[in-house]
Symmetry: C2
Subunit: 382 residues, 2 copies
């Protein structure tokens, strides 16, 4: 079954668990595209999907059924497992995998808030996995959590500002794609849209609301006490944890209650890239020109801010790409110091409030790509 493993000479052996899901397939695509050396890839999914064949680097991978045996039969130890099979599988198998010596990079929410588990965005808090680097193989297992997609996309854009100026407060409204709910979400959007265009009445099939030409508050459950849905709470909690790991004196002091962040998470009828409208209050005054300069040199960020051409980040522009797109950079007129009036040069005025608009591929940087980047940091990439 060698072809099913797509073996190469050296590097770690990698398992993609949940390989037939939307994120799992993207993990394989990212592994194909990037220069991350790996000895073999094995693809795992539920018994239902076992035997399915997935194209990979000119050959094919035969999907194996994930059992509770780890390392799985039919091969040697697995150095690195990229998990995207839901929280249940992660909780059941993650600790066992780590105990066997596998470095588990988990895309679910299972361990994100667990103390001692790094929650890592390579461009943001690389030091969170500094102790785990094992370029020569060996070294024992571990669990590393991949943050939630909307957190990753937000923090790619605002962490450079946090490092440069300190971020005091964030107000975020999201425009989230169907892909956040996997194939089922994307299929629902397509199927429901076809039905409506065919003259049928809009009806909900997968999400709590009809999706065709509609949008709705994020489908995760809502905490009755706070009014926040799980997606919003994740953004708050994960931002707090990630920024507290920066280790540069930032994060912890963001107000008595931690990061001052309000999120409103909304599902829009878009296939696979999330957008976020972000209002930021910095800790100290600076200029738009300085903000622009900081973002222009931020890793993994691509500025797309053509005012004259009205050309800014969109989901389609972000889809399939590696970078988080940032644009609509503006001074927030609501936070201009009192007395600053019309006619001031908004590129040069000192202020603390700015607006921006961000787009990132939910399946790539928001999930699969970030996980593979973590693997590259640990096992040595290109």
């Amino acid at each position: 079954m060698n072809t099913a493993r797509n073996s190469a000479a050296d590097g770690p052996s990698v398992a993609v668990v949940g390989a037939t899901g939307a994120v799992g397939r993207e993990m394989l695509a990212v592994l194909e595209q990037r220069a991350f050396k790996h000895r073999e890839v094995r693809a795992f999914a539920s018994v239902r999907s076992a035997g399915q064949k997935l194209a990979y680097r000119g050959g094919e991978l035969v999907v194996e059924a994930l059992t509770d045996q780890w390392p799985p039969s039919g091969g040697g130890a697995i150095d690195c497992a990229l998990l995207s099979a839901g929280s249940g599988i992660s909780k059941a198998m993650g600790p066992k995998m780590a105990a066997s010596g596998t470095v588990v990079i988990d895309n679910s929410s299972a361990f994100r808030m667990t103390a001692g588990v790094p929650l890592t965005i390579p461009e943001v808090n690389p030091l969170s996995v500094a102790g785990l680097v094992r370029k020569s193989g060996g070294g024992g297992g571990a669990i590393i959590a991949n943050p939630n997609c909307s957190t990753i996309i937000l923090l790619m854009a605002v962490t450079p500002l946090h490092r440069a100026f300190g971020v005091e407060r964030l107000v975020v409204s999201t425009y989230q794609a169907a892909s956040g709910a996997g194939w089922q979400g994307m299929e629902a959007l397509e199927r429901e849209t076809r039905a409506v265009l065919g003259g049928e009445a809009a009806s909900a099939t997968v999400f709590p609301e009809p999706y065709a030409f509609n949008l709705f508050s994020h489908n995760s459950s809502v905490d009755v006490a706070t009014g926040r849905n799980v997606e919003e709470q994740k953004m708050i909690d994960e931002t707090r944890k990630i920024w507290s790991e920066l280790g540069v004196g930032l994060g912890g002091e963001l107000g008595g209650s931690g990061v001052r962040l309000s999120a409103t998470c909304v599902r829009v009828p878009v296939m696979r890239a999330h957008c976020e409208s972000v209002n930021v209050t910095l800790s100290r005054e600076t200029t738009l020109a300085e903000v622009r300069a900081v973002l222009a040199r931020a890793a993994g960020v691509r500025m797309m801010d053509d005012r004259a051409g009205n050309s800014f980040p969109t989901p389609l522009k972000a889809s399939g790409g590696d970078d988080v797109l940032v644009g609509r950079l503006r001074v927030d007129p609501g936070q201009l110091p009192t007395g600053v009036g019309a006619g001031v040069d908004l590129e040069r005025v000192s202020t603390r409030g700015f607006d921006l608009f961000v787009a990132g591929d939910q399946l790539r940087k928001g999930a699969a790509q970030n996980a593979v980047q973590i693997a590259e940091m640990i096992f040595g990439g290109s």
Copy 2:
């Protein structure tokens, strides 16, 4: 040509100008549905659309060509003209119509910021047209401006809070429907979506960006100096003017530079209702319970805030309805006073920051319905 006028016994004679457009048709629909007494309705549009027949109250209206003659030939004086034929027509014809004794209710942006022209949302600033009330007919012409759709929908939700607590600052992100660009916008969304579902590559046809399963920064032009697009600037300027007309000591004092408002306006692939994610900072502390109580009794607002059922305002729920839907009411955790920690009762804690999510039919309350409500105030409604 009596049938074309749909005559009734009394009330003003009404002209709908731009009657074949998306807003014009909705004006006729609203006139049909509401109890506003009118003697006759005449429908006007460009020469291209003249002769077209529009169903109205069991009969039909034959669309007449708008010329520069006013009052138009073939009838008597027009008491009230509802204009939605673009800024150019409004600028060219509005003053002439008003001079002839017609009360012009203009849906374009032509006169919104003109000093002395009321900019009116009946539930918000009814006193702006107090001097124009003429229930018995006669009284001379005037121009009254209908605010922009996204301004109306925002202010329906936040003005009750402004009256009760004072609003210090707003951060708004919009989710705007295709209908804001008229039939052409809705047709583009449908046509482009069919093409993509048929396997074609996404391409832009009417808007600057592809619309199928995509979203983009509002298509109005962007001011290179401020970075704001026209839609965003309208929301700022119109809010300032409308609130300054409240005449209750509010509005003018909202910071040295007027209303502290940041808007990010985004076009989403939805047909006809706009949504807005709103973060509000009040002038004084209050509780979520009080905010909820104020909104529950606000005219024209319908609360839809079912946390347990994850049921909140959506474009589809707002479409075709009269009310602005408000939900996702929450305490903004980013504005909680320092020291307020976990476990506090968020319904009862005193704070100044709140979040909400609003949906309103762009063609109805955002345009046609608001215009007809203004006519009702002036000429006497039900």
